[in-house]
């Protein structure tokens, strides 16, 4: 039987999930994910026409709080775990190419 998910699809999904995978991982995941998906497809034995999808097992509704000013974390605490910072900012590599002004 054809694999549920081939290596090309694994690469595509990895890109969507922002995960860089090695060639060995791509190969391994193609096999393992295919086996898992094949198992998961046993759900297709069930007729679910007319069944509501259940995202949440309790009846939940949106919760609003009163619109009052409350204390927030503050700059220092927020930045305390930053891999790199510049003053009061999180520092990241340059996002725009040279000369590629937005």
């Amino acid at each position: 039987m054809a694999k549920r998910i081939d290596e090309e699809q694994v690469r595509k999904v990895a890109k969507l999930g922002r995960l860089e995978l090695s060639d060995a991982e791509v190969e391994e995941f193609a096999g393992q994910l295919s086996a898992i998906l094949e198992y998961v497809e046993k759900m297709n034995e069930l007729d679910t026409d007319g069944v509501e999808p259940l995202a949440h097992c309790l009846a939940v509704s949106n919760v609003f709080r009163d619109d009052v000013v409350a204390e927030s974390l503050g700059t220092e605490k927020t930045l305390a775990n930053a891999p790199e910072r510049d003053g009061e900012f999180f520092k990241v590599p340059k996002i725009l190419d040279e000369g590629g002004g937005a």
Partner: protein, 488 residues
């Protein structure tokens, strides 16, 4: 002293018979002795714990009012945020993450004057059934150090089993409290979804995750529930107490449930190993001896729970774990040449295999073209499973079945075969999908002296009755008193 339950210790401390400092020192002596073998903790806080113990002793000596867990050494799974120590989720991506706030349950433990001795190991981001997926260390089963403790709360259950704390907190998304409790011979309760605040619990599968106690006795589980249950406005899925009041879970614990009807699905129980089947059958006999009636019920969609779970949980995980981007906190790659590589390389370098696998699976299930076939289908199957339980509870007060099809398996045995590992969650997952509470209590040992757990599942918000039912069994048996001889 080390044989006491958390409640007994609390009472002795309150009665000035033992000091919290003595109890805490004894726990750290055991940690010194056994932790090098068991590996239950990612981090311990000896100095801090002893200071808290001394403070509690002083307040008790002065006749001041103290909390419900005053002076009792406890542990917390390392996916719950603490302002002291790191909060790692056993992941390299959070290895040096220091939370700016405490999880709601940590606040509650501290408010109850518990002494937090350490943070326990887990499968990375609570994804796994053996604690082998920890990115930081290996935990072994105190009953046999060549075997896994179960997972993902394997550090918490191993620590309680080894006497390296009196009680602990775990989290359960697909069985992660109950299965390791079973494999380590301790009590583990997954409350109803929404009963305990998830504020400060690092998210894995948000519609399934629930925090609960890992303890030596059912009474201790009730005691911990008294401390941690309740509404929290910071968790919008935590339940409104006007709709479902929190009760005193200790109050009626000693009252047996009269006219108890226990639902069983014979074909389901027959799926477990012979020795597990026998222990569960023997447990049912104990209940019959107490006047309970065993009725056959059906849970027609039970067999589809694993399939539905691994779509729902991984879809939620892939979304929840998108936050680990190497920008605001956590590991950042040194190799990035552009911003996309900051994300993709940071995640590649620091996530373990199982986490990557689940992100891939969930991303796939949510991706265009596959959403209806996998994710939406799984949500519909989830509804069918919840309906099964609602119907089953019309005929019985609780359902009993095994927790795990086998006792603790060997380290390394299933690690290269994810699907086989997933299938070991067969008995625990349905309760998460349906949101109902479930408990694991010790009910025997196999021929290799490995513990076996009995699972009891109750209707939503029926924790009080669930604990009473579990307590009935515990009073009649002494499985929960047995302790491992740790060697290795």
């Amino acid at each position: 002293m080390e044989e006491l339950s958390a409640r007994q210790l609390r009472d002795r401390i309150a009665a000035h018979e033992i000091s919290s400092v003595e109890a805490t020192e004894a726990v750290f002596e055991r940690i010194d002795r056994y932790e090098p073998v068991v590996g239950a903790y990612i981090n311990t806080f000896e100095e801090r714990a002893l200071a808290k113990a001394a403070e509690v002793d002083k307040r008790i000596a002065a006749g001041e009012q103290v909390g419900e867990l005053a002076g009792v050494p406890v542990a917390v799974k390392d996916n719950m945020c603490t302002t002291f120590g790191a909060t790692t989720c056993a992941s390299k991506i959070l290895e040096n993450f220091h939370s700016p706030y405490n999880a709601a349950v940590v606040e509650k433990l501290l408010g109850a004057d518990a002494v937090i001795v350490g943070k326990t190991n887990l499968d990375e981001f609570a994804m796994g059934s053996s604690t082998e997926n920890s990115g930081l260390k290996q935990t072994v089963n105190p009953w046999d150090t060549s075997r896994v403790p179960g997972g993902s709360s394997g550090g918490s259950t191993a620590a309680v089993a080894a006497g390296m704390c009196y009680a602990a907190l775990g989290s359960d998304t697909g069985g992660s409290i109950r299965q390791p409790a079973s494999l380590c011979g301790v009590v583990g309760l997954k409350p109803t979804y929404g009963r305990v605040s998830r504020y400060g619990l690092v998210a894995y599968g948000s519609s399934l995750d629930q925090i609960g106690p890992v303890t030596r006795t059912v009474a201790d589980a009730a005691l911990l529930m008294n401390v941690i249950a309740g509404h929290d406005e910071r968790d919008s899925t935590s339940v409104d107490e006007r709709e479902a009041p929190v009760c005193d879970y200790l109050e009626k614990l000693d009252e047996p449930v009269s006219g108890l009807k226990i639902g069983v699905v014979p074909a389901l129980n027959a799926g477990a190993d012979e020795q597990v089947q026998k222990a569960v059958a023997d447990a049912l006999e104990v209940y019959k001896g107490l006047g309970a009636e065993v009725v056959e019920i059906e849970i027609p969609h039970f067999d589809y729970a694993i399939a539905a779970y691994y779509m729902v949980a991984t879809a939620e995980a892939s979304s929840n774990l998108a936050r680990y981007d190497g920008v605001h906190y956590g590991h950042r790659t040194k190799e990035a040449s552009d911003y996309v590589e900051v994300y993709s390389k940071s995640r590649a370098e620091a996530f373990g295999k199982e986490v990557k696998r689940r992100i891939m699976l969930g991303t796939y299930a949510l991706s265009s073209g596959y959403y209806d076939a996998y994710y939406l289908k799984a949500l519909k199957v989830r509804n069918l499973i919840r309906g099964d339980f609602t119907k089953a509870f019309e005929k019985c007060n609780c359902v009993m079945m095994p927790i795990s099809p086998t006792t603790a398996f060997k380290i390394g045995e299933k690690v290269d075969d994810p699907l086989t590992m997933y299938l070991s969650d067969i008995y625990t997952i349905a309760a998460n999908l349906a949101g109902v509470p479930g408990i694991s209590i010790p009910c025997g040992f196999d021929g290799d002296n490995l513990p076996i757990g009995l699972q009891i599942i109750a209707p939503v918000f029926d924790e009080q009755k669930l604990l009473r039912i579990a307590h009935m069994f515990e009073k009649e048996t002494d499985w929960h008193i047995k302790r491992p001889t740790i060697s290795g």
